[in-house]
């Protein structure tokens, strides 16, 4: 299965390229949030930071695959599940950090570049 849509698919699914721009913006947001969550104390996690990660992940999970970026959707859905578990009290902050890294990597591949920090 291809990681991303073909050029022909993209021409129809995202004719003016606005979705790719959104992916780039979400990538920047998630990288910033990854920095914030990384700086938190173990076991902690600011609710607003976690809520922001969950929101971006939720929206990407629903939208990216529809625009042909299945790997981004899949990584976003995994991350969303991990953040929900953390917000409910699970001790899985490393899994959230790892999920963030996986999603940022998937976004980099979708954007055709490797900008991993």
């Amino acid at each position: 299965m291809a990681d991303g849509p073909s050029a022909a698919d993209l021409a129809l699914l995202d004719p003016d390229g606005t979705f790719v721009l959104r992916l780039a913006e979400d990538r920047i947001t998630l990288a910033r949030l990854a920095g914030e969550i990384g700086a938190m104390e173990p076991g902690g996690g600011r609710p607003d930071c976690l809520a922001a990660i969950e929101l971006v992940a939720h929206r990407l999970a629903g939208a990216a695959g529809t625009f042909g970026h299945a790997a981004v959707s899949s990584a976003a859905l995994d991350l969303e599940d991990q953040v929900i578990a953390l917000r409910k009290g699970a001790d899985n902050r490393p899994a959230v950090a790892s999920g963030l890294a996986v999603l940022v990597g998937a976004l980099d591949r979708a954007l055709g570049s490797d900008q991993s920090d």
């Binding site: 698919d9 629903g62 939208a63 529809t66």
Partner: protein, 256 residues
């Protein structure tokens, strides 16, 4: 999933048959989705099917639109910013809005699907979705007669038979013109709810039809006269500047 979806041809008339193309020409769809990109894609694909599409991002706006517009189908996202999509569907059903609803959500768990269907949705589409699946589900729902939509509407002693295109009062057929019947059917479907004049114009006339300034008033006047003469126990109430509604006579208030 590479969504080769959109690469499929856009000759939807051929793909779904002439019957669908004919029905689609009159169908108006409401898409309730706050994700601008997904809403844009869904809107674009449904318009390519020949449907008229309204896109709304908030549940409360969707409720108002569903109340005022005769949609053939609603596509509703589960996660809306102001209200849960399930809540929205439940509220619509509570208000007797019978329009078929296709729910969209990023979740694919069985319990999510069951909740969606139990709340009153007719079908379920898991995001991310392939565009051909969206088209196929929309087409199937538009073809399906909704169990909530009875072909016979009853208001007091008036029965509007939408299959026979006939109105009956106390068992006797009432002579109505086509426009009068369409008007009565619309008002009966929205019994007790105000129906704006603009909505009546849209239901009775095509976009390219010339509509004289007082055409609706004239149809309402004639319909009111005919119903009274037939002994109907419901009448068309006018609210100046707002619209019309069909109410049982004991509830009716004379407004002119």
């Amino acid at each position: 999933m590479a969504n080769s979806a959109a690469v499929a041809d856009s000759a939807e008339g051929a793909a779904f048959g002439d019957g669908f193309a004919l029905a689609a020409a009159q169908a108006r769809i409401l898409v309730v989705e706050d994700d601008r990109d997904v809403a844009g894609l869904v809107g674009r694909e449904l318009r390519a099917l020949g449907l008229t599409v309204d896109v709304i991002g908030f549940a409360e706006d969707a409720l108002l639109a569903a109340r005022d517009t005769d949609y053939a189908l609603m596509v509703v996202d589960l996660g809306l910013p102001d209200r849960d999509g399930l809540d929205l569907v439940r509220e619509m059903r509570k208000r007797a809005i019978a329009t078929p609803i296709l729910m969209m959500t990023a979740r694919s768990k069985v319990e999510d699907k069951v909740s969606g269907l139990a709340s009153g949705a007719d079908d379920y589409l898991v995001k991310p979705f392939a565009v051909p699946e969206l088209r196929a589900r929309v087409t199937a729902l538009l073809r399906r007669p909704s169990p909530l939509k009875d072909s016979r509407l009853t208001v007091a002693n008036i029965v509007v038979d939408r299959d026979a295109l006939e109105a009956v009062v106390d068992g006797a057929s009432v002579p109505l013109t086509r426009k009068q019947f369409q008007l009565l059917e619309l008002l009966a479907r929205r019994k007790n709810h105000m129906t704006p004049k603009r909505m009546i114009e849209e239901a009775l006339y095509g976009y390219n039809d010339e509509v004289s300034g007082n055409a609706i008033e004239a149809h309402v006047y004639k319909l009111r006269q005919t119903l009274r003469a037939a002994g109907a126990e419901a009448e068309v109430e006018t609210r100046r500047g707002i619209g019309y509604r069909l109410v049982e006579r004991h509830r009716a208030v004379a407004h002119g």
